[in-house]
Amino acid sequence: MELQALEKKARAVRRNIITMTAKAGAGHPGGSLSCTDALVALYFEIMNVSPENEKDPQRDRFVLSKGHAAPALYGTLCERGYFGPEEFDRFRQLHGILQGHPDIKKCPGVDASTGSLGQGISIAVGMALGAKHTGNPCHVYTVIGDGESQEGLVWEASMAAAHYKLDNLTVILDHNGMQIDGTNDEVMSLGDIKAKALAFGYDVIEVKDGNDMQQVLDALRAPACPGKPRYILLNTLKGKGVSFMEGQVGWHGKAPNAEQAAQALKELED
């Protein structure tokens, strides 16, 4: 897909995020908007996945370890054709397929149920190890949060990824610098996260602007480093694309009201 088409898709996904969170009156728009470009790049350009090969054992896998960014995943899966936009009306609603956090048993295209932070990356490590074990050529991608990186399990999983030489695994850090109670530095400083990833044995690529589609694509297309798991550090902006949400901690877990949603959708027009 052309760069401009991907950027257009990213705007469409961002509109989906606003639409469903506004309708539900709940959800996590800030951290969904920050990782949107990565998800669009993965689902429309990088991964060999489609609604047609949903059960193909050799399809690539994606785990949204920061499961609260479900609106970004749902918005992307809908654009990719896994279900129709009418499902957005039932986001976070009784009997809906779009649960508050991704549910493998309910939502087509979801490869792991996540939401309990730290677990997604660990499951992704298991998938990559299982793929190696069974000779499955698929690649496993996971998006983790920076706040999530305060969970010890992220580092247990990272140690195992390096130990088992999982070069079929790409961990993508959505580093928007913010979490529920404030900035990372206010809540629990991550220190030099790049140095930590390197020290844990990852092949690290830092992307200066993780909301720039070309930069994201370049990082995702970089050839694998044999014997090492890949870690892509995306420097992103929380609330990206909606002026009044950008860089605001307060939009982590708050839905826009009707008026705010209208303004946001206007800003995200093609």
Partner: protein, 305 residues
């Protein structure tokens, strides 16, 4: 009588299973020499994954591996059922992944390592999880059957095993979710699970000498629970006792109570660990300390008949 620790049977059963099914992989967290998965490691080194001292990661890795068509058996100490709980709940049970948990060193008969390591709560934790099958084999032969059955169940299974060597009884017919009548009787009934079978058998013999005809029923499956058999023997014997090497809160006793309430219970008593932690000691001394020897069980029953 031959004695063998149930955990040893677990290790042997895995080797046999590995021979029959190449989808079976075994994960351990640096305890292979204790959980006895080292036998599998030796037989199938390329299907054994050591996860290091990181039990939580072991469980979620197993979850991920199961999505690739593998049947992972996670092995560690039963006390870590609590440490792993979020991973077992959200990583495995919530998506209903096909992961098995063979957790050993359960109960006070773990012995010398002490209360920090003696799981008295794992059955309560596991049986409340939707979709989880819970096995508590009473001896080596039943453990072989539980492991074999676990591999055939599509979904999460917990197998609780003990460290202490215990009697090996003749193999009995095995059906998942069905209890086993060990001794028929009419005056009262003991429901038990796990290696307390040895001590409840002793209690039944002591009672017999005193002219009390006690029935003894053992449950290798706590979930799904054989409510029918529990109710049948409750109706027949009326006076009910449960004996377990677990807290009397949330384990076998409460499972039985839920099943038989309103079904002709005349009296009911739970015998187990009374809402307290264990401590270091020789297993035999600990059984005495916590009142779980045959003689002590029989005494408690006599006082309540």
């Amino acid at each position: 009588m031959e004695k063998k620790a149930v955990r040893v049977a677990y290790g042997e059963a895995l080797v046999k299973l590995g021979e029959q099914n190449d989808k079976v992989v075994v994960l351990d967290a640096d305890l292979a020499a204790a959980t006895m998965t080292n036998a599998f490691k030796k037989a199938y080194p390329d299907r054994f994954y050591d996860c290091g001292i990181a039990e939580a990661n072991m469980v979620d890795m197993a979850a991920g591996m199961s999505t690739m068509g593998l049947i992972p058996f996670c092995s560690t100490f039963a006390v870590f059922a609590g440490r792993n709980y979020d991973q077992i709940r959200n990583g495995v049970c919530y998506p209903k992944f096909n992961v098995k948990f063979g957790f050993s060193h359960a109960g006070i008969t773990l012995g010398e390592d002490g209360g920090s390591h003696q799981a008295i709560e794992d059955l309560a934790l596991m049986r409340v999880l939707p979709g989880m099958t819970v096995f508590v084999p009473s001896d080596a032969n039943e453990c072989y059957q539980c492991v074999e059955a676990a591999a055939k169940i599509e979904g999460p299974v917990y197998i609780r095993t003990a460290r202490l060597a215990s009697p090996v009884y003749d193999p009995r017919p095995f059906t998942v979710g069905k209890g086993t009548v060990i001794r028929d009787g009419k005056d009262c009934v003991i429901f038990t699970c796990g290696i307390m079978l040895e001590h409840t058998l002793a209690a039944v013999d002591i009672l017999a000498q005193k002219g009390i005809d006690a029935a003894l029923v053992s449950f290798h499956t706590l979930k799904p629970f054989d409510e029918e058999l529990a109710r049948e023997y409750t109706a027949k014997c009326r006076k009910v006792f449960t004996v377990e090497e677990h807290s009397i809160i949330g384990g076998l006793g409460d499972t039985v109570a839920s099943a038989i309430i309103g079904h002709g219970v005349e009296s009911f008593m739970k015998i187990g660990i009374n809402d307290e932690f264990g401590q270091s000691g020789k297993p035999a001394d600990l059984l005495v300390e916590y009142g779980l020897t045959g003689a002590q069980i029989a005494d408690k029953m006599m006082n309540n008949l």
